[in-house]
């Protein structure tokens, strides 16, 4: 395990919370380095899901019986817990969605379709995830708006001079990743929010790779919207969140209609429920929402500052180890620059998928492909990259296993 230092994570104890980490394949222990895709789930979160189904499973907001009241309170309080975790004022500003992509689509359809028109501009970045890039491309096609992209520099940062040129009076929305899922870059989202607001534009921050591994305060950033996913932060799949400033959410049209989002219905019309329920149509993600709140409490107990240090430390160690080899190309900010807990790289001319297949023999799980950032990969001049990404239970020793296993790929493809 990692050498203990003041404020460092107690990784040995954390690992005991994650049952899946006990898995072995032909006697080889799993080395799970695909956390930017999805993180593993601690027993506490699994128990929260079990407890819900075993003791108080009921539909929320419509039953007057005991189980429904218990489920409703737990589900509502889950909003408060998650809201507080990211610095939102309260549940009115925190909508549960399916994932970050759905949060993005919610804003695109409920706000973008109604607010954008010909001559308007949506400013994205070249490192944007398909979740935002494709969504705004399509909304632009429907509304006549134009999508523009802030350039990414050679060292994997956003070109802020270019951003200052792009963001102007025609800009209606800026949508930017907080942490790049491909490069690991931590973007200056508060500065970009200032820039957007100076031109009366809104800013949407995709925090899918930030909320899991660093302290996030949506009010300090002054984000108008901020989105993230539960399954990348020790929570279950099927749940994500959208933070939105209350005044903006109140002015917005609903995204989906039906069920929980309605107050009064006649044959002619309907009125909408209060926030956040106005944006949670139908029976919501009750078990997942409650479990996400449990995950948030689990992470909060460990401490987000310590998690951020741990993630950066593992990423820096990986960059240092990879730098020992002439045949490795890494992407993103250079060693020494703080980054999220991930490193994308290529081994010589070996295709990332071949590398991942070979690493699988060593029970090493990494991601290989385009990481849902095809245009960025085009710009980097590669079709695919391998990506090792870390979480609270990963160790330097596991990164050493990854580095050693790559020798096999070298031999095969030499």
């Amino acid at each position: 395990m990692t050498v203990s230092e003041p404020g460092a994570l107690d990784v040995a104890s954390i690992r005991e919370d994650f049952p899946v980490l006990d898995r072995e394949f032909d006697g080889t222990p799993l080395v799970y380095l695909d956390n930017a895709a999805t993180t593993q789930t601690p027993q506490q979160v699994i128990d929260a899901i079990s407890e819900y189904y075993e003791t108080y499973n009921a539909n929320v907001h419509r039953g007057l019986h005991q189980l429904s009241q218990e489920a409703s309170i737990a589900y509502e309080e889950a909003h408060d817990t998650v809201a507080e975790f990211v610095g939102a004022a309260g549940r009115e500003e925190l909508i549960f969605t399916g994932n970050t992509t759905e949060s993005e689509n919610l804003v695109a359809y409920a706000w973008g379709l109604n607010e954008l028109g010909p001559g308007d501009e949506v400013v994205l970045t070249e490192m944007e995830h398909h979740a935002s890039l494709v969504t705004w491309q399509q909304i632009a096609k429907k509304t006549g708006a134009t999508v523009r992209y802030i350039r990414v520099t050679e060292d994997g940062h956003l070109d802020l001079d270019h951003a200052k040129k792009l963001i102007g009076s025609d800009t209606k929305l800026v949508s930017v990743l907080h942490v790049s899922n491909t490069l690991g870059t931590i973007n200056p989202v508060a500065d970009l929010a200032d820039l957007a607001h100076a031109h009366d534009a809104l800013i949407f921050v995709d925090g899918a790779q930030a909320v899991p591994n660093r302290p996030v305060d949506v009010e300090a950033i002054d984000a108008d919207f901020y989105a993230f996913s539960g399954h990348k932060m020790a929570g279950p799949t099927g749940i994500g969140a959208l933070y939105g400033k209350q005044a903006i959410l109140e002015a917005m049209e609903p995204f989906n209609y039906g069920g929980d989002m309605i107050t009064k219905v006649t044959f002619d019309d309907a009125t909408w429920n209060d926030l956040p329920w106005k944006f949670e149509a139908g029976t919501p993600k009750i078990a997942q929402g409650i479990a996400l709140a449990e995950a948030v409490e689990y992470l909060d107990d460990i401490g987000m500052e310590a998690i951020a240090r741990h993630e950066n430390e593992l990423a820096q160690y990986t960059l240092d180890r990879l730098a020992e080899f002439d045949d490795i190309e890494t992407f993103g900010p250079p060693a020494g620059t703080e980054r999220g807990g991930l490193v994308s790289f290529n081994l010589g001319t070996v295709h990332a998928h071949d590398l991942s297949s070979i690493l699988n023999d060593y029970a090493v799980a990494i991601r290989a492909g385009d990481h849902c950032t095809q245009p960025l990969h085009d710009k980097l001049g590669v079709a695919a990259t391998a990506r090792a990404s870390f979480y609270i239970y990963n160790t330097r020793e596991e990164i050493d296993v990854l580095i050693d296993a790559m020798d096999d790929a070298r031999e095969l493809f030499a």
Binding site: F25, D26, T28, A37, N99, T101, H130, A131, V134, V350, H351, H353, D354, S357, I358, N360, D361, A363, R367, G369, D370, H371, C372, Q374, H377, V382, A383, A384, D408, L412, F413
Partner: protein, 163 residues
């Protein structure tokens, strides 16, 4: 995660049913590596009867095939391919190009993914089948387009069911 998650870890495959080794270096037997490193029929044929391209954009695998038919347009006389991508896709294209020499168009059209996997001679993990069959699909689509049975710009096997 549009599409990609489904590609890598298909929900249809129970985790415990996937034996380790499949998808690992077992896929990279000598024959595969030999064809990958020394592809046969690599290049282009300028006066080909038909040319067709295929791409799996999420993998980054590309294959372009030039095929020369005999005067009766029944039999493949010569074939060349160019491409870029993973070892499985490129070795499969190389081996297929050897297999197709002298084959009739009718025989080409009856080939399926099992024939390709037999040809490769290794277990291909479910997630990599689309890499293995790209070349075969390019050849088949190229022929069908040439004979007016299909209208298609570019072939892909990425939207195929991975199983």
């Amino acid at each position: 995660m549009i599409g990609f998650a489904a590609e890598r870890f298909s929900a249809g495959i129970a985790n415990l049913d996937v034996p380790m080794g499949i998808g690992g270096s077992d896929m990279y037997r000598q024959q595969i590596l030999d064809h990958y490193k020394n592809p046969r029929n690599y290049g282009e044929i300028e006066d080909a009867t038909f040319t067709h391209v295929g791409e799996n954009p999420m993998c980054g695998d590309t294959i372009e095939m030039d095929v020369v038919l005999d005067d009766d347009e029944e039999t493949i006389e010569a074939i060349a391919f160019q491409g870029d991508g993973c070892a499985i896709s490129q070795a499969s294209a190389s081996m297929l190009s050897k297999r197709l020499e002298g084959m009739t168009i009718e025989e080409l059209e009856t080939m399926d993914r099992d024939d390709v996997i037999d040809m490769l001679g290794v277990d291909i993990s479910p997630m990599r089948v689309k890499c293995a069959v790209l070349a075969e699909k390019v050849a088949q689509d190229g022929a069908e387009i040439y004979f007016g049975e299909k209208d298609l710009e570019e072939t892909t096997t990425e939207d195929d069911d991975p199983e």
